[in-house]
Protein backbone atom coordinates (compact mmCIF):
# COMPACT_ATOMS: atom_id res chain seq x y z
CA UNK A 1 0.00 0.00 0.00
CA UNK A 2 1.16 3.55 -0.62
CA UNK A 3 1.98 5.94 2.16
CA UNK A 4 -0.38 8.77 2.87
CA UNK A 5 0.85 12.29 3.52
CA UNK A 6 1.67 12.75 7.18
CA UNK A 7 -1.43 13.07 9.34
CA UNK A 8 -1.77 16.56 10.61
CA UNK A 9 -4.25 16.22 13.39
CA UNK A 10 -5.62 13.86 15.98
CA UNK A 11 -9.12 12.44 15.81
CA UNK A 12 -12.21 14.42 16.69
CA UNK A 13 -13.04 13.66 20.31
CA UNK A 14 -15.69 11.01 20.81
CA UNK A 15 -19.21 12.24 21.32
CA UNK A 16 -20.20 10.27 24.41
CA UNK A 17 -23.82 11.41 24.05
CA UNK A 18 -24.34 8.92 21.25
CA UNK A 19 -22.46 5.99 22.77
CA UNK A 20 -24.01 3.78 25.41
CA UNK A 21 -22.69 4.49 28.90
CA UNK A 22 -20.57 1.68 30.38
CA UNK A 23 -23.18 1.11 33.07
CA UNK A 24 -26.60 0.56 31.51
CA UNK A 25 -28.51 -1.54 34.07
CA UNK A 26 -31.41 -2.53 31.77
CA UNK A 27 -28.73 -4.49 29.94
CA UNK A 28 -27.79 -6.63 32.90
CA UNK A 29 -24.43 -7.88 31.63
CA UNK A 30 -23.10 -4.34 31.82
CA UNK A 31 -23.64 -4.11 35.57
CA UNK A 32 -20.47 -5.96 36.64
CA UNK A 33 -18.50 -5.29 33.47
CA UNK A 34 -18.61 -1.49 33.56
CA UNK A 35 -15.66 0.47 34.91
CA UNK A 36 -16.86 2.72 37.73
CA UNK A 37 -14.01 5.21 37.54
CA UNK A 38 -13.69 7.90 34.89
CA UNK A 39 -11.80 7.22 31.67
CA UNK A 40 -8.50 9.08 31.74
CA UNK A 41 -8.22 11.38 28.70
CA UNK A 42 -4.75 11.26 27.18
CA UNK A 43 -5.34 12.58 23.69
CA UNK A 44 -4.01 11.29 20.41
CA UNK A 45 -0.33 10.50 20.10
CA UNK A 46 1.49 8.24 17.67
CA UNK A 47 0.07 5.06 19.16
CA UNK A 48 -3.47 6.38 18.77
CA UNK A 49 -3.34 7.83 15.26
CA UNK A 50 -1.55 4.80 13.81
CA UNK A 51 -3.19 1.43 13.36
CA UNK A 52 -2.67 -1.96 11.76
CA UNK A 53 -2.58 -2.49 8.00
CA UNK A 54 -4.44 -5.43 6.46
CA UNK A 55 -4.01 -6.70 2.95
CA UNK A 56 -6.27 -8.51 0.52
CA UNK A 57 -3.80 -11.40 0.74
CA UNK A 58 -4.88 -11.90 4.36
CA UNK A 59 -8.34 -12.95 3.17
CA UNK A 60 -9.85 -15.75 1.12
CA UNK A 61 -12.03 -15.21 -1.98
CA UNK A 62 -15.33 -16.20 -0.32
CA UNK A 63 -14.70 -14.61 3.07
CA UNK A 64 -17.33 -11.93 2.41
CA UNK A 65 -19.92 -14.41 1.11
CA UNK A 66 -21.65 -16.12 4.02
CA UNK A 67 -23.89 -18.01 1.61
CA UNK A 68 -20.81 -19.78 0.27
CA UNK A 69 -18.12 -19.69 2.94
CA UNK A 70 -19.46 -22.53 5.07
CA UNK A 71 -21.88 -24.38 2.81
CA UNK A 72 -21.37 -27.78 1.25
CA UNK A 73 -20.84 -27.91 -2.49
CA UNK A 74 -24.07 -26.98 -4.34
CA UNK A 75 -25.89 -26.32 -1.05
CA UNK A 76 -27.15 -23.04 0.38
CA UNK A 77 -28.14 -21.89 3.84
CA UNK A 78 -31.86 -21.48 4.53
CA UNK A 79 -33.22 -17.97 4.78
CA UNK A 80 -33.75 -14.67 2.99
CA UNK A 81 -30.83 -14.02 0.70
CA UNK A 82 -29.48 -10.50 1.18
CA UNK A 83 -26.63 -8.25 0.17
CA UNK A 84 -25.42 -5.80 2.80
CA UNK A 85 -23.29 -3.05 1.32
CA UNK A 86 -22.22 0.50 1.92
CA UNK A 87 -19.32 2.78 2.45
CA UNK A 88 -16.86 2.99 5.32
CA UNK A 89 -15.97 6.61 5.89
CA UNK A 90 -14.91 9.00 8.56
CA UNK A 91 -16.75 11.93 10.05
CA UNK A 92 -15.32 14.20 7.36
CA UNK A 93 -17.01 12.01 4.72
CA UNK A 94 -13.69 10.63 3.48
CA UNK A 95 -13.96 7.04 2.28
CA UNK A 96 -11.58 4.72 4.13
CA UNK A 97 -9.76 2.34 1.81
CA UNK A 98 -8.03 -0.87 2.82
CA UNK A 99 -9.82 -1.26 6.15
CA UNK A 100 -10.82 -4.58 7.68
CA UNK A 101 -14.52 -5.17 8.34
CA UNK A 102 -15.61 -8.36 10.12
CA UNK A 103 -19.18 -9.49 10.73
CA UNK A 104 -20.91 -12.27 12.64
CA UNK A 105 -24.55 -13.20 12.99
CA UNK A 106 -27.15 -15.81 13.86
CA UNK A 107 -28.64 -17.99 11.14
CA UNK A 108 -32.20 -17.52 9.85
CA UNK A 109 -33.57 -19.39 12.88
CA UNK A 110 -31.82 -17.02 15.30
CA UNK A 111 -29.19 -19.59 16.29
CA UNK A 112 -25.46 -18.91 16.44
CA UNK A 113 -22.87 -21.47 15.47
CA UNK A 114 -21.17 -21.21 18.85
CA UNK A 115 -20.57 -23.97 21.35
CA UNK A 116 -22.26 -21.92 24.07
CA UNK A 117 -25.47 -21.14 22.14
CA UNK A 118 -28.14 -23.65 23.20
CA UNK A 119 -31.19 -21.95 21.67
CA UNK A 120 -33.86 -24.32 20.35
CA UNK A 121 -33.68 -22.75 16.87
CA UNK A 122 -31.70 -25.28 14.84
CA UNK A 123 -28.23 -24.92 13.42
CA UNK A 124 -28.04 -24.76 9.65
CA UNK A 125 -25.39 -27.17 8.35
CA UNK A 126 -24.66 -24.77 5.49
CA UNK A 127 -24.21 -21.62 7.53
CA UNK A 128 -21.20 -20.59 9.61
CA UNK A 129 -22.19 -17.02 10.40
CA UNK A 130 -18.99 -15.01 10.01
CA UNK A 131 -17.51 -12.98 7.20
CA UNK A 132 -14.83 -10.41 6.56
CA UNK A 133 -13.68 -8.06 3.86
CA UNK A 134 -11.28 -5.24 3.10
CA UNK A 135 -12.77 -2.00 1.87
CA UNK A 136 -12.19 -0.86 -1.71
CA UNK A 137 -10.92 2.40 -3.05
CA UNK A 138 -13.69 4.69 -1.86
CA UNK A 139 -14.41 2.72 1.30
CA UNK A 140 -16.93 0.48 -0.45
CA UNK A 141 -17.70 -2.90 1.11
CA UNK A 142 -20.23 -5.64 0.52
CA UNK A 143 -21.29 -8.94 2.04
CA UNK A 144 -23.71 -11.58 0.82
CA UNK A 145 -25.51 -13.48 3.54
CA UNK A 146 -28.94 -14.56 4.75
CA UNK A 147 -31.06 -12.40 7.00
CA UNK A 148 -30.48 -13.41 10.63
CA UNK A 149 -33.52 -14.35 12.71
CA UNK A 150 -34.45 -12.70 16.01
CA UNK A 151 -33.69 -14.68 19.15
CA UNK A 152 -34.61 -14.63 22.84
CA UNK A 153 -31.86 -13.98 25.37
CA UNK A 154 -31.50 -14.16 29.13
CA UNK A 155 -31.87 -10.62 30.42
CA UNK A 156 -35.45 -9.81 31.33
CA UNK A 157 -37.97 -12.65 31.37
CA UNK A 158 -38.99 -12.08 27.75
CA UNK A 159 -36.31 -10.14 25.92
CA UNK A 160 -35.70 -10.71 22.22
CA UNK A 161 -32.96 -9.35 20.02
CA UNK A 162 -34.10 -7.79 16.75
CA UNK A 163 -32.50 -9.30 13.66
CA UNK A 164 -28.97 -7.93 13.66
CA UNK A 165 -25.48 -8.34 12.28
CA UNK A 166 -22.46 -7.60 14.45
CA UNK A 167 -19.81 -5.39 12.82
CA UNK A 168 -16.18 -4.99 13.86
CA UNK A 169 -14.47 -2.00 12.24
CA UNK A 170 -10.94 -0.73 11.85
CA UNK A 171 -9.86 2.66 10.56
CA UNK A 172 -6.29 3.77 9.99
CA UNK A 173 -5.98 4.82 13.65
CA UNK A 174 -6.31 2.42 16.57
CA UNK A 175 -8.43 5.00 18.41
CA UNK A 176 -11.10 4.51 15.71
CA UNK A 177 -11.58 0.87 16.67
CA UNK A 178 -15.30 0.15 16.96
CA UNK A 179 -17.68 -2.76 17.35
CA UNK A 180 -21.36 -2.17 16.71
CA UNK A 181 -24.50 -3.85 15.37
CA UNK A 182 -26.62 -3.36 12.28
CA UNK A 183 -30.43 -3.60 12.42
CA UNK A 184 -33.03 -3.90 9.67
CA UNK A 185 -35.46 -1.19 8.66
CA UNK A 186 -38.97 -1.79 9.95
CA UNK A 187 -38.16 -4.38 12.63
CA UNK A 188 -40.63 -3.88 15.52
CA UNK A 189 -38.17 -5.45 17.98
CA UNK A 190 -35.66 -2.60 17.62
CA UNK A 191 -37.71 -0.22 19.78
CA UNK A 192 -37.99 -2.64 22.70
CA UNK A 193 -34.47 -4.08 22.70
CA UNK A 194 -32.53 -3.38 25.93
CA UNK A 195 -29.22 -3.43 24.04
CA UNK A 196 -30.41 -0.97 21.39
CA UNK A 197 -31.77 1.17 24.19
CA UNK A 198 -28.39 1.47 25.89
CA UNK A 199 -27.87 4.23 23.30
CA UNK A 200 -28.95 7.42 25.07
CA UNK A 201 -29.60 9.48 21.93
CA UNK A 202 -32.66 7.92 20.30
CA UNK A 203 -31.94 9.64 16.99
CA UNK A 204 -28.49 8.05 16.90
CA UNK A 205 -30.14 4.59 16.86
CA UNK A 206 -31.23 5.41 13.34
CA UNK A 207 -27.57 5.37 12.24
CA UNK A 208 -27.52 1.62 12.95
CA UNK A 209 -30.55 0.75 10.82
CA UNK A 210 -29.89 -0.53 7.30
CA UNK A 211 -32.27 0.59 4.56
CA UNK A 212 -33.83 -1.70 2.02
CA UNK A 213 -32.43 -0.70 -1.36
CA UNK A 214 -34.58 -1.98 -4.21
CA UNK A 215 -32.25 -0.44 -6.80
CA UNK A 216 -29.43 -2.79 -5.85
CA UNK A 217 -31.65 -5.80 -5.28
CA UNK A 218 -30.94 -8.62 -7.72
CA UNK A 219 -34.35 -9.46 -9.24
CA UNK A 220 -35.60 -13.00 -8.52
CA UNK A 221 -32.52 -13.63 -6.37
CA UNK A 222 -31.33 -11.39 -3.51
CA UNK A 223 -32.55 -8.31 -1.61
CA UNK A 224 -30.12 -5.48 -0.89
CA UNK A 225 -29.66 -3.39 2.26
CA UNK A 226 -27.50 -0.30 2.43
CA UNK A 227 -25.58 0.36 5.64
CA UNK A 228 -23.00 3.12 5.78
CA UNK A 229 -20.30 2.94 8.39
CA UNK A 230 -18.84 6.06 9.97
CA UNK A 231 -15.73 6.10 12.14
CA UNK A 232 -14.15 9.01 13.97
CA UNK A 233 -12.75 11.70 11.69
CA UNK A 234 -9.47 13.47 11.92
CA UNK A 235 -8.63 17.10 12.33
CA UNK A 236 -6.63 18.55 9.52
CA UNK A 237 -5.37 22.00 10.29
CA UNK A 238 -2.31 23.99 9.42
CA UNK A 239 -2.22 25.26 12.96
CA UNK A 240 -1.40 21.86 14.40
CA UNK A 241 1.94 21.60 16.24
CA UNK A 242 4.49 19.55 14.38
CA UNK A 243 6.68 17.13 16.28
CA UNK A 244 9.78 19.06 17.30
CA UNK A 245 12.93 18.22 15.41
CA UNK A 246 11.12 16.63 12.47
Amino acid sequence: MTKRPPPSGGFFPRNFQIHPPAYAPDYKSSIVRSPKLALVSIGNGLSEITGPVFGHEDLGPTDNDLILNYSAKDKSPIGERIIVYGKLMDESRKGIEGALIEIWQANSAGRYRHIKDKYIGPLDPNFGGCGRTITGEDGHYEFRTIKPGPYPWPNGINDWRPSHIHFSLFGPGFSQRLITQMYFEGDPLIKICPIVNTIPDKEAIDLLIARLDMANTIPMDTLAYEFNLVLRGRRSTMFENRPEGN
Partner: protein
Amino acid sequence: MALSPKIYQELPSQTAGPYVHIGCTPQMAGLKTIYGGGHLGSKMVNEKTLGIRISISGKIFDGTGTPIKDGIIELWQADAQGLFNSLDETRGEPDQNFQGWGRQPTDILTGEFHFDTIKPGRIPYLSTNRLQAPFISIWVAARGINLGLHTRMYFPEEVEANAEDPVLNRLEHQNRVHTLIAEPLEDGVYQFDIVLQGENETVFFDI
Protein backbone atom coordinates in the same frame (compact mmCIF):
# COMPACT_ATOMS: atom_id res chain seq x y z
CA MET B 1 -4.36 22.62 3.63
CA ALA B 2 -8.12 22.73 4.11
CA LEU B 3 -9.86 22.14 7.39
CA SER B 4 -11.88 18.93 7.59
CA PRO B 5 -15.30 19.78 8.91
CA LYS B 6 -17.10 17.15 10.92
CA ILE B 7 -20.04 16.31 8.67
CA TYR B 8 -21.09 12.92 9.92
CA GLN B 9 -21.34 11.34 13.33
CA GLU B 10 -19.41 8.23 14.32
CA LEU B 11 -21.74 5.24 14.61
CA PRO B 12 -22.88 4.50 18.13
CA SER B 13 -21.12 1.53 19.69
CA GLN B 14 -22.98 -1.63 20.61
CA THR B 15 -21.70 -4.44 22.79
CA ALA B 16 -19.76 -7.21 21.06
CA GLY B 17 -22.23 -9.62 22.71
CA PRO B 18 -21.54 -13.16 23.90
CA TYR B 19 -20.48 -14.50 20.50
CA VAL B 20 -17.72 -12.12 19.43
CA HIS B 21 -15.46 -15.16 19.07
CA ILE B 22 -17.44 -16.23 15.99
CA GLY B 23 -16.47 -13.08 14.15
CA CYS B 24 -13.00 -12.39 15.49
CA THR B 25 -11.49 -15.69 16.67
CA PRO B 26 -13.84 -18.30 15.15
CA GLN B 27 -11.86 -21.35 16.20
CA MET B 28 -12.58 -20.51 19.85
CA ALA B 29 -16.32 -20.56 19.02
CA GLY B 30 -16.02 -24.01 17.49
CA LEU B 31 -15.73 -23.06 13.81
CA LYS B 32 -12.58 -25.07 13.29
CA THR B 33 -12.14 -24.87 9.54
CA ILE B 34 -13.29 -21.42 8.49
CA TYR B 35 -10.69 -18.87 7.24
CA GLY B 36 -8.21 -21.70 6.75
CA GLY B 37 -8.32 -22.63 10.43
CA GLY B 38 -6.73 -19.49 11.87
CA HIS B 39 -7.66 -15.99 12.92
CA LEU B 40 -6.16 -12.60 12.09
CA GLY B 41 -3.65 -11.39 14.66
CA SER B 42 -2.95 -14.86 16.07
CA LYS B 43 0.74 -14.76 15.22
CA MET B 44 2.58 -11.51 15.88
CA VAL B 45 6.20 -12.54 15.33
CA ASN B 46 8.08 -14.70 12.86
CA GLU B 47 11.70 -15.85 12.91
CA LYS B 48 12.87 -12.67 11.17
CA THR B 49 11.13 -10.19 13.48
CA LEU B 50 13.65 -7.93 15.23
CA GLY B 51 13.56 -7.51 18.97
CA ILE B 52 13.40 -9.24 22.30
CA ARG B 53 10.77 -11.99 22.44
CA ILE B 54 8.26 -11.63 25.21
CA SER B 55 5.03 -13.34 26.17
CA ILE B 56 2.04 -11.90 27.94
CA SER B 57 -0.80 -13.77 29.54
CA GLY B 58 -3.58 -12.78 31.84
CA LYS B 59 -7.28 -12.68 32.52
CA ILE B 60 -9.96 -10.02 32.45
CA PHE B 61 -11.97 -9.88 35.67
CA ASP B 62 -15.46 -8.51 36.14
CA GLY B 63 -16.64 -6.65 39.24
CA THR B 64 -17.27 -9.89 41.13
CA GLY B 65 -13.73 -11.16 40.51
CA THR B 66 -14.87 -13.66 37.87
CA PRO B 67 -12.72 -13.98 34.75
CA ILE B 68 -14.64 -13.23 31.58
CA LYS B 69 -14.59 -16.05 29.05
CA ASP B 70 -16.37 -14.48 26.10
CA GLY B 71 -14.11 -11.52 25.32
CA ILE B 72 -11.41 -10.56 22.88
CA ILE B 73 -8.27 -8.59 23.52
CA GLU B 74 -6.15 -6.75 20.95
CA LEU B 75 -2.63 -5.36 21.17
CA TRP B 76 -1.18 -2.49 19.12
CA GLN B 77 2.45 -1.65 19.54
CA ALA B 78 5.61 -0.19 18.03
CA ASP B 79 8.37 -2.42 16.69
CA ALA B 80 11.72 -2.85 18.41
CA GLN B 81 12.92 0.52 17.06
CA GLY B 82 9.81 2.37 18.22
CA LEU B 83 8.20 2.58 14.77
CA PHE B 84 4.65 1.61 13.85
CA ASN B 85 3.88 -0.59 10.87
CA SER B 86 1.17 1.82 9.81
CA LEU B 87 0.34 4.00 6.81
CA ASP B 88 0.74 7.00 9.05
CA GLU B 89 4.28 6.20 10.21
CA THR B 90 6.46 8.93 8.73
CA ARG B 91 9.52 8.74 10.99
CA GLY B 92 11.24 5.79 9.36
CA GLU B 93 10.92 2.32 7.91
CA PRO B 94 9.25 -0.07 10.34
CA ASP B 95 10.20 -3.75 10.61
CA GLN B 96 8.35 -5.47 7.76
CA ASN B 97 8.32 -8.68 9.78
CA PHE B 98 6.21 -7.16 12.49
CA GLN B 99 2.63 -6.00 11.93
CA GLY B 100 2.41 -4.70 15.48
CA TRP B 101 -1.14 -5.90 15.98
CA GLY B 102 -2.36 -9.01 17.73
CA ARG B 103 -5.70 -10.43 18.76
CA GLN B 104 -6.59 -13.29 21.06
CA PRO B 105 -9.76 -14.60 22.66
CA THR B 106 -10.12 -14.96 26.39
CA ASP B 107 -10.31 -18.74 26.65
CA ILE B 108 -13.87 -20.05 26.69
CA LEU B 109 -13.07 -22.40 29.63
CA THR B 110 -10.44 -20.56 31.68
CA GLY B 111 -10.71 -16.92 30.61
CA GLU B 112 -6.98 -16.76 29.97
CA PHE B 113 -5.42 -14.92 27.03
CA HIS B 114 -1.91 -15.32 25.73
CA PHE B 115 0.32 -13.37 23.31
CA ASP B 116 3.81 -13.94 21.98
CA THR B 117 5.31 -10.69 20.77
CA ILE B 118 8.37 -8.46 21.14
CA LYS B 119 9.18 -5.68 23.54
CA PRO B 120 8.37 -2.38 21.79
CA GLY B 121 10.84 0.48 21.43
CA ARG B 122 10.12 3.84 23.02
CA ILE B 123 8.06 6.45 21.18
CA PRO B 124 7.73 10.21 21.69
CA TYR B 125 4.88 11.71 23.67
CA LEU B 126 2.31 13.63 21.58
CA SER B 127 4.11 16.31 19.52
CA THR B 128 7.19 16.47 21.73
CA ASN B 129 10.61 14.87 21.71
CA ARG B 130 10.02 13.50 25.18
CA LEU B 131 10.11 9.70 25.15
CA GLN B 132 7.45 7.61 26.77
CA ALA B 133 8.30 4.45 28.66
CA PRO B 134 7.82 1.39 26.44
CA PHE B 135 4.21 0.25 26.45
CA ILE B 136 1.66 -1.76 24.50
CA SER B 137 -1.77 -0.35 23.66
CA ILE B 138 -4.61 -2.71 24.52
CA TRP B 139 -8.25 -2.82 23.47
CA VAL B 140 -10.89 -5.06 25.06
CA ALA B 141 -14.37 -5.98 23.84
CA ALA B 142 -16.92 -8.42 25.28
CA ARG B 143 -20.54 -8.96 26.24
CA GLY B 144 -21.51 -6.32 28.78
CA ILE B 145 -18.88 -3.86 27.54
CA ASN B 146 -20.86 -1.19 25.72
CA LEU B 147 -17.89 0.63 24.20
CA GLY B 148 -14.54 -1.10 23.67
CA LEU B 149 -12.05 -0.25 26.41
CA HIS B 150 -8.56 1.14 25.77
CA THR B 151 -5.75 0.61 28.24
CA ARG B 152 -1.96 0.16 28.18
CA MET B 153 0.55 -2.31 29.51
CA TYR B 154 3.91 -1.01 30.81
CA PHE B 155 6.96 -3.05 31.76
CA PRO B 156 7.96 -3.68 35.38
CA GLU B 157 11.73 -3.63 34.72
CA GLU B 158 11.52 -0.09 33.27
CA VAL B 159 11.54 1.52 36.68
CA GLU B 160 13.27 4.72 35.64
CA ALA B 161 11.38 5.22 32.37
CA ASN B 162 8.07 4.51 34.08
CA ALA B 163 8.86 7.03 36.82
CA GLU B 164 9.42 9.71 34.15
CA ASP B 165 6.62 8.68 31.82
CA PRO B 166 4.32 11.58 30.90
CA VAL B 167 1.15 9.47 30.77
CA LEU B 168 1.78 7.60 34.01
CA ASN B 169 2.70 10.87 35.66
CA ARG B 170 -0.45 12.66 34.69
CA LEU B 171 -2.69 10.12 36.43
CA GLU B 172 -4.39 11.95 39.26
CA HIS B 173 -4.51 8.79 41.36
CA GLN B 174 -0.92 7.61 41.51
CA ASN B 175 -2.07 4.62 43.54
CA ARG B 176 -3.63 3.29 40.30
CA VAL B 177 -0.41 3.31 38.24
CA HIS B 178 0.29 -0.29 39.26
CA THR B 179 -2.81 -1.44 37.35
CA LEU B 180 -0.95 -0.56 34.13
CA ILE B 181 2.29 -2.38 34.93
CA ALA B 182 2.66 -6.06 34.13
CA GLU B 183 3.83 -8.63 36.69
CA PRO B 184 7.16 -10.23 35.80
CA LEU B 185 6.96 -14.03 35.95
CA GLU B 186 10.39 -14.80 34.52
CA ASP B 187 12.69 -13.18 31.99
CA GLY B 188 10.47 -11.91 29.13
CA VAL B 189 7.36 -13.54 30.56
CA TYR B 190 4.68 -11.27 31.94
CA GLN B 191 1.27 -11.53 33.50
CA PHE B 192 -1.12 -8.67 32.85
CA ASP B 193 -4.56 -8.94 34.38
CA ILE B 194 -7.27 -6.44 33.57
CA VAL B 195 -9.90 -5.56 36.17
CA LEU B 196 -13.06 -4.07 34.73
CA GLN B 197 -14.55 -2.86 37.98
CA GLY B 198 -14.00 -2.57 41.71
CA GLU B 199 -10.86 -2.79 43.79
CA ASN B 200 -7.75 -2.37 41.62
CA GLU B 201 -9.90 -1.34 38.66
CA THR B 202 -7.59 -0.95 35.66
CA VAL B 203 -7.05 2.54 34.33
CA PHE B 204 -8.91 2.88 31.03
CA PHE B 205 -8.27 5.72 28.63
CA ASP B 206 -10.29 8.04 26.48
CA ILE B 207 -7.97 8.48 23.52
